[in-house]
Symmetry: C2
Subunit: 277 residues, 2 copies
């Protein structure tokens, strides 16, 4: 209920370390990204609308560039909202950009493309500086892995993962790659890029880069868990080809990789931003 | 007070995210790395000695390879201590290696060489995924910096930092680079390497690599703060040359860079490890 007239649409870009959040979306009694940012916004503009975000990232998932719009009632530029919000946010969520947009702009319906990274580290021990942001595959879980050869190229077959990934690029029915219980009708999505890269400057970590038009709940984590089954040589690359064929469901794909490896890296928005409806 | 006979010397390698610790060393009522590891050790071997560590890292400073020895009373190999300790440690400190050593081994007096990294990021906004491990220089603090040119090479002069660093390599009196209040007599140290590198895979972060025989309290952070004064073009590289000349003290060097950028990366130990005295 706005008690003051809407003055300005503001589109925020948010970055967060998802470790200590129960996901992006507001939930009663739980610490979420949305509730922390809305709490800061209430101090800056008590009559502002709630946030309208682009992606509902899960518990433990990170973001470098989540997009969230709101309608403000103060007569000040987006940049000033950015600077004032920053004074009230905890250290694990930050506003990293702010721009003007239409008063009722809905980034969720205007996202044209999203990019996620999924990070994996192999090795014989924990690493407190990377365990917040990487899925750690213990030595014992990696076939052929030995303590001396935890190099990614040795323990996980990049070549096999790349072949498997190639079968998912393009427009397919990804019904086997959505969380069980998700009931939406349209399960066809387009993946523009699915690449597997070593992390620069490391010998023990890799990154799965996924770029596509839209993603279902847990889809990137199921894709990552499936590719890792191939990388660990538990499955052949050609198995992945069958997963986008008719008659498949969630039980046919690999496990859901854990959330801490996942980062929402960027979102491309369409042309609606400037248009008021 | 050991109530059981000493059976085994164990040398641990510890990795930790220093963010939520009041430094390495035990302090009454505060959460420190030593107290957390000793608490775990008490569950595994209640009669084990306290830890004897190699470096007293400050509040907020991280480690990939701190060395800490203890004397155990259980008849089991170092590897078994490692695995049992891991079951009782919090997620921000890990045992990453364990080996046998002399019963009374003191790694602090046997360290031959240590390597530290100091990480710096430049840019116009916070980054929750890197602010735990990098010193963030805001755009406004960087001369010549603009939002579009936050590339390290533009905003911080790597060339000037490298020239300044060259004056500190070798054996010098580092009395100007020790924390005020430190009263030890011998302030001569040898720096084998002091290099400035871009962080791989980034355009906005650099790493100062320091390798030397021994370091005084806050010495690496004062070196880093001093080099950053030069990188930001507040001082000439030749200024750093004067800081190891006679008659200098802490007031002449640059500011102490904040702790979160610092990581103890490795320690080379000498030959005492296997010898019982």
């Amino acid at each position: 209920m706005n008690e003051r007239p809407a003055k300005r649409g503001v589109l925020l870009t948010l970055a967060y370390d998802g470790t200590d959040f129960h996901g992006y979306q507001r939930q009663d009694g739980l610490r979420t990204v949305q509730s922390e940012v809305e709490r800061a916004l209430e101090k800056v503009d008590p009559w502002a609308s709630r946030l309208r975000a682009c992606s509902r990232t899960d518990t433990g998932v990170h973001a470098l560039a989540q997009k969230a719009a709101f309608t403000g009632t103060r007569d000040m530029p987006a940049f000033a909202y950015w600077k004032e919000l920053e004074r009230h946010l905890p250290r694990d969520v930050a506003v990293v950009d702010a721009e003007e947009c239409a008063l009722d702009y809905e980034p969720r319906f205007d996202a044209v493309e999203k990019t996620y990274h999924y990070r994996v580290r192999v090795g014989p021990s924990r690493d407190p500086l990377r365990d917040r942001t990487h899925f750690h595959l213990f030595r014992g879980m990696i076939r052929k892995g030995t303590r001396e050869s935890t190099d990614v190229g040795v323990s996980l077959s990049l070549e096999a993962m790349r072949e498997a990934a190639s079968y998912l690029v393009g427009t397919h029915d990804f019904v086997a790659f959505r969380a069980a219980g998700d009931e939406r009708k349209n399960t066809v999505r387009t993946i523009h890029e699915l690449s597997i890269e070593r992390e620069e400057g490391t010998t023990d970590a890799l990154r799965i880069v996924v770029r596509g038009n839209a993603f279902m709940k847990q889809m990137v984590r199921i894709i990552s868990g499936t590719l890792l089954e191939v990388g660990r040589e538990r499955r052949e690359p050609s198995w992945v080809k069958t997963l986008v064929e008719p008659g498949k469901d969630r039980r046919h794909a690999g496990p859901t990789a854990p959330p801490q490896g996942l980062v929402l890296v960027s979102v491309v928005l369409g042309r609606d931003r400037a248009e008021s409806t």
